[in-house]
Amino acid sequence: MTTEGQTHSSRIGWLVVIGVAICLLVAPHVLDRYPRYILTEIIIWGLFALGFDIIFGKTGLLNFGMSSFFGLGAYGFVFAVKYVYPSVWLGILSGMAFAMVFSIVVGWIVTRFSSHYFVVFTIVISMILFLLAMNLRSITGADEGINIRLPNLQVIAWEFSLRSPITKYYLILGVAAVAFLVVWLFFDSPMGRAVVAIRENEARAQMIGYNTAHLKLVAYTLSGTVAGLAGAMYPLLNSTTSAELFFWILSGKAVLWTVVGGAGTLWGPFLGAAVLVSAEDALSSWLVDFYPILVGVLLIAIILLAPKGILGTLLEWVADRRASMEPGGKS
């Protein structure tokens, strides 16, 4: 592994990151209203899928019920803003809190079970939550949902009206960026590495001294809270929420975006969301009927042919090239 080759690759990596960051910062001024809206949505969905990547890509637990966290985050935001106090920050915190509490309670139960039971459990819980949300019409408004009026954003001394989609975009981008940074740092920390060890070899991780049950709960909670945060962004963008956000198909989309983008990379979910949400939007109206079928086919194709997703396969290719450039190289 030549240090030169390494620095070269990481330099390219940094360039890409900076390039993307610049594009994201400039985008809302360059794009028309509708593409800007789609981009904002992509950021939210990317953050949501990041929640999945935490529990699946990094911890190795297949949680097929991510929609629960998203819905709870959305309703947490709406309830706080509508019934408690019209503050955006309160709404965000409330959304995260709803999701976090749910994650801790459910996570405590669910992380005790082995992989197959775990998957089914998460599916069952998420379906039941959906049924509950649709049923408790007086609380949730079911599929019609609840509408709110967005309060102004208070940042220290300044007040911003959230009527402008550009302001909303920057707020959501900022929140997502901070969340991403926190997650990234977490997995660069000793605790984060321990979580990844669970994915690799749980029994051995225990025998080195890691309390894997505890760590799994931490990862599960982090995953749920991030997804809840994404959920809180939804009413922030659309001034509305609905019980449909609990629908299990949304959970499947988180899986799809992450797997397509590249599980375990933390960037992958955003990439996958960008690719697929744009594609879904670009499909002409008659194709929309076929979209779920296309999604199904794509899921199957990706998992069988390119299981590491776009980013994962790319990184693997880079690593292989690096290895083969080594003198006396092994591939």
């Binding site: 197959h116 039971y117 069952v124 076929f290 199904g296 199957i300 998992i303």
Partner: protein, 285 residues
């Protein structure tokens, strides 16, 4: 009140037996191929839809009882050959995602062909039998009896026939089975088809009772998962018992609380059982 409870219990038993068909299919597929078949509910839906078309075109509902499982077995074979067999031996995510994809494809296809409007099949046995304080639909009694019969035959099949033996042998010890010359791949395909057929049969039986719509699989799959987890993956008898228990519990609860809460109670029961015995009531792992 007492009558209500008794009738809920009886309904629970009827649904429990129908559910048992579906759940047994699910647990067989898992026990044999280690696959959590997320698309199982969609197979049930297809079974119901097929029986609707069979009934609508041929008029004979008995005919649809035969056609559904056969069509589903075929569908299961297609699914197995095109996707599942490439996933054997790979980590669980692969098959879960594959079956998830199949779920999307199946449900949307049903939606596009059959439409989004729920329709029903008229009661094929429109007679009632006198029951405590009222009448009870004979058709439901038929469903219960028929399901019990199928399950009985299935258990006999697994115990005494050649393919049944092969199924059990492969489940016990894959390598030894291969070395003994058992066509393991074929057994896998067979089990998947069998599981699909059972789900389809359940759908065909349920079609006259509940309305046929492309989302009908959602509710039943929750129950099926609850049952299979509670019974422990892999046990046929255990699944039958758990099925009856769960449906009776949910049915009786539904007399007092709203139907969704009744399902939550069912799920709570499953959690309690799992805490006492993490491998399920009859689980073998």
């Amino acid at each position: 009140m007492m009558e209500l409870i008794i009738s809920q219990v009886v309904n629970g038993l009827v649904w429990g037996l129908i559910l048992a068909l579906i759940s047994i299919g699910l647990t067989l597929i898992y026990g044999q191929l280690e696959i959590v078949n997320v698309a199982h509910g969609a197979l049930y839906t297809v079974g119901a839809v097929v029986s609707y078309y069979a009934f609508a075109s041929m008029g004979g509902w008995v005919f649809s009882l035969i056609v559904s499982p056969v069509v589903l077995a075929l569908l299961g074979l297609i699914i197995y050959l095109t996707t599942i067999r490439f996933a054997l031996g790979k980590p669980p995510i692969v098959t879960v995602i594959i079956t998830y994809g199949i779920l999307f494809i199946l449900e949307q296809t049903v939606f596009l062909t059959y439409g989004g409007v729920p329709r029903s099949i008229p009661n094929p046995i429109p007679y009632n039998i006198p029951f405590i304080g009222g009448d009870y639909p004979l058709y439901r009694v038929f469903c219960a009896v028929f399901s019990a019969l199928v399950i009985f035959c299935l258990m006999g099949f697994l115990k005494w026939t050649r393919y049944g033996l092969w199924t059990r042998a492969t489940k016990q010890d894959y390598e030894t089975a291969m070395n003994m010359g058992i066509p393991v791949r074929r057994v896998y395909a067979f089990v998947f088809c069998l599981g699909s057929a059972l789900a389809g049969l359940g759908g065909a039986l349920a079609a006259p009772i509940s309305s046929v719509t492309f989302t009908m699989g959602h509710s039943i799959i929750i129950d099926a998962f609850i049952v299979v987890i509670m019974a422990g993956f892999g046990s046929v008898i255990g699944t039958l018992v758990a099925s009856l228990v769960i449906e009776v519990v949910i049915g009786v609860s539904a007399a007092f609380v709203n139907p969704v809460m009744a399902k939550v109670i069912g799920m709570a029961l499953m959690v309690v059982v799992l805490f006492i015995r993490p491998e399920g009531l009859f689980g073998e792992e």
